[in-house]
Symmetry: C2
Subunit: 67 residues, 2 copies
DNA sequence: CTGTGACTGGGAGTCCGTG
DNA sequence: GCACGGACTCCCAGTCACA
């Protein structure tokens, strides 16, 4: 299981726990909706800036998304 | 303190704890020497792939580098 | 040994749309 | 609501010469 897949799984789980659509989440987190879709499918290799945005939005440490 | 600076500090600390030069470390971790220099100065915004390489080399969770 | 400016190819990230 | 595609811009990955 590589980093991208771990991020994908954690991201989808956290988003669904808060009952948000990809579009709502993308908008509120300041990321493009198609990019969120790609991330949740493990199709992208994001920079740490983007991962930080996600972590800040969910109010979890970055390790909770990547480890 | 943003993510890049935290990574920079953690990276330099871990490398120095192991008493490695940037060149030694870069070679052994499979990263270019000047890229390591940039990372330790917070001049780059790396992707999670690169950060994973660092974490694997140091045998620490990714969160230990970014959180 | 390390910092820095410059360079190129490829990929990060965005925006349009479709079923 | 989501997956997926094409097209676009800009920045990152990776390297080099030099101080």
């Amino acid at each position: 299981m590589d980093v991208r897949q771990r991020l994908a799984a954690n991201l989808r789980r956290l988003r669904q726990e808060r009952e948000l659509s990809q579009e709502q989440f993308a908008f509120e987190a300041g990321i493009h909706r198609t990019y969120v879709s790609d991330l949740e499918r493990g199709m992208r290799n994001p920079t740490i800036n983007v991962v930080e945005k996600l972590a800040l939005y969910f109010e979890v440490p970055i390790g909770a998304l990547l480890d």
